[in-house]
């Protein structure tokens, strides 16, 4: 099949792929630095991605040298010594500055008991609605419902992207000298809240241009939800008592051992009731902190404070992991000229190290890396002598695309996705990791790979899903390749055979290649007290 004509063609300086927080901040930053900017999102900037439907705690440390030093020390240790102090300092400063802007733009933080503004948590729908307004106000053109499917390239690097409009099936093409990948992580369609749009597309697109990945072994995060639902906010379970099928108490109130839930779920069903929220006041506080958590219970007619409900764990893939595209510069550049990465699509090891947990690093990273990459992309694009539209660009996509089909057999996306899920969801493969089990699983994943080179279903959704399927198989293969190479336990990764941290392995693991995956270590720079300045945006859009 030849190359399809694009019905919509746009020329710009910077293209942002993805409209979660990272993409939104990147678009605002690029436009504020003088670049013509287009943002494309698979869904809709404002509703799509892991933050939009719920909310996130973010890292917010006001400029107090002592507190910040302490936060850095804690994180270096908590992150398994794979993060870098100057990057963590800059993250805190950038997030601090941007949160101030967000307030100016109209986000209302609540008051704490002492009458001070409490800045640690963002309600997703509100936050992302404001970001959409800010991005539009900055002059960015947004294409919603327009998943990017592949990048454009020539010998000078990236030159834009091409994709499809899910609403009308039109093919679009945006030519740009700089591209920011902000497509989020990959959660393998596990239906965690807001997670089904993140299928690793950006990782695959960038890897097809030769970008490296890093930290893919740090991908072991699950979130506990009511078995029937999607709302993954584990905090509420801090007020729970847990029971087994027969009603025996497994755990009573308060924090649990880190493996508690996974271990119990392997034995059999687990139920919870939030009976430690035992006053009206406590119940009211919990409800108003995380209303989305209570919504499904109210609708299902279950009172979670008095009635038991069954639990399950939903896999989050790389979303609350720390792996992604390897960054090489302070401007979030990758190894491919003109290609930048931000948010969950990027490796977050420079700030979070080997563990992110739910504790706020990712949300602030999306804000900060978005801002840095947006400026980086704007500076790069504006420094090019030639506009992208006069470059001889070709399409770089290789897998899950009709143009490149190597057989007439149609890719059975449903079956392949289910097979990948059977390798990455089970706790006894991916949570309690061990060498022989992971090896066998990786072998099965490799054997799935040829199937994504088949012919692509003709429908719009089929075309989108075929590409997503290829990205998910690739991501799973990267994850387990890295997991098997890290023969130790560090941060969120562990192998049963190697239960201890091995100081000799205090390096990152870089992956390159899709067909054949090569792996090599990258030393973490030794501790310095260098200061990397934040990005100050003078032309901040005012609403």
């Amino acid at each position: 099949m030849g190359i399809e004509k694009a019905a919509v063609k746009l020329d710009t300086d910077v293209l942002i792929i993805g409209g979660g927080p990272a993409g939104a901040w990147a678009a605002w930053s690029a436009a504020s630095h003088g670049a013509r900017t287009v943002l494309v999102d698979k869904g809709y900037l404002g509703t799509s991605g892991a933050t939009a439907p719920g909310g996130t705690n973010f890292l917010y440390v006001p400029p107090n040298q002592e507190k910040r030093e302490q936060a850095v020390e804690d994180r270096l240790e908590g992150g398994g010594y794979l993060s870098e102090a100057p990057w963590i300092h800059r993250l805190m400063e950038q997030a601090y500055q941007n949160i101030e802007l967000l307030e100016q733009w109209g986000y209302r933080f609540p008051l704490d008991g002492n009458g001070n503004l409490f800045k640690a948590h963002l309600q997703g729908p509100e936050y992302m609605q404001i970001m959409r307004k800010v991005v539009l106000k900055a002059g960015v053109r947004i294409l919603d419902q327009c998943p990017a499917q592949e990048l454009l390239t020539d010998e000078h690097g990236v030159g834009g992207a091409r994709g499809i409009n899910r609403l009308d099936g039109n093919v679009w093409e945006v030519r740009a000298n700089a591209v920011v990948i902000a497509t989020g992580g990959c959660a393998f369609l596990s239906k965690g809240l807001g997670c089904n749009v993140q299928t690793g597309d950006g990782l695959l697109m960038a890897a097809e241009l030769g970008a490296d990945l890093s930290g893919m072994e740090f991908s072991r995060q699950y979130a506990t939800t009511a078995a029937f639902g999607t709302i993954t906010r584990n905090r509420m379970l801090g007020w729970a008592t847990f029971y087994d099928e027969e009603g025996h108490v497994l755990h009573e109130g308060g924090p649990r051992e880190s493996d508690f839930m996974a271990k119990q779920l392997l034995k059999g069903p687990v139920y919870a009731v939030l009976n430690h929220a035992d006053t009206e006041e406590k119940r009211r506080i919990l409800r108003l902190s995380t209303p989305v958590w209570f919504l499904p219970f109210d609708r299902a007619g279950i009172d979670p404070f008095t009635q038991r409900f069954p639990l399950t764990m939903r896999y989050e893939g790389t979303i609350r992991g720390t792996g992604g595209l390897r960054l090489v510069g302070h401007d979030c550049s990758t190894t491919v000229a003109g290609l930048f990465a931000a948010g969950d699509a990027a490796s977050r090891e420079k700030t979070a190290g080997a563990r992110s947990g739910g504790g706020a690093y990712n949300a602030s990273w999306a804000i900060a890396s978005g801002t840095w990459s947006g400026k980086g992309a704007a500076d790069y694009a504006l420094a090019q002598g030639k506009e992208a539209r006069v470059r001889q660009l070709r399409l770089a996509g290789a897998y899950g695309l009709e143009r490149n089909a190597q057989s007439a057999e149609t890719i059975d996306t449903k079956a392949i996705v289910e097979q990948v899920q059977r390798e990455v969801f089970p706790l006894d493969i991916n949570y309690f990791r061990s060498e022989p089990v992971l090896e066998a699983s990786l072998k099965r994943l490799h054997s799935l790979w040829p199937a994504v080179k088949g012919s692509v279903p003709k429908t719009i959704q089929g075309r989108v899903r075929a590409r997503e399927t290829a990205a998910m198989v690739a991501t799973a293969r990267w994850m387990y390749t890295a997991a098997l190479a890290r023969k130790e336990t560090r941060g969120m990764h562990g192998l049963r055979e190697y239960p201890e941290l091995n100081p000799a392995l205090s390096h990152r693991l870089l992956l390159s290649g899709i067909e054949h995956i090569a792996i090599r270590p990258e030393q973490v720079p030794s501790r310095t007290y260098d200061v990397i300045p934040p990005v100050i945006v003078k032309e901040a859009a005012r609403l």
Partner: protein, 126 residues
Amino acid sequence: MIELVSAERCIQCNLCVKVCPTNVFDKTEGGVPVIKRQEDCQTCFICEAYCPVDALYVSPFTDEAVQVDEEELAAKGILGSWRETIGWGPGRQKLAALDQTPFIDRILPPRPVRAAGISDVKVQTS
């Protein structure tokens, strides 16, 4: 999963078609949108928040379709309840300002916090 587009309430603004992150709805010629790919619904409730006339209902059950009765949902005040909770719509107070997260740590059950490795147990504050 999404279970209802109320033909009676819908004003055919097609906002739900535009904002659904997983492309569940299709526009129709001169009619109300249809739930075309229910199995792709990620149960994120976001379409309900955006619908200006509370015409949508997302059931809490993620993996199974259920029968719903519009009259009953309306009578119980469930249609539009999520939009009301987050304070969207004219004259309502936005949820962000009512957020009770600042108080949450104070009411934790009395137990030593062994937070290492437990996600979401401790909010990182300044």
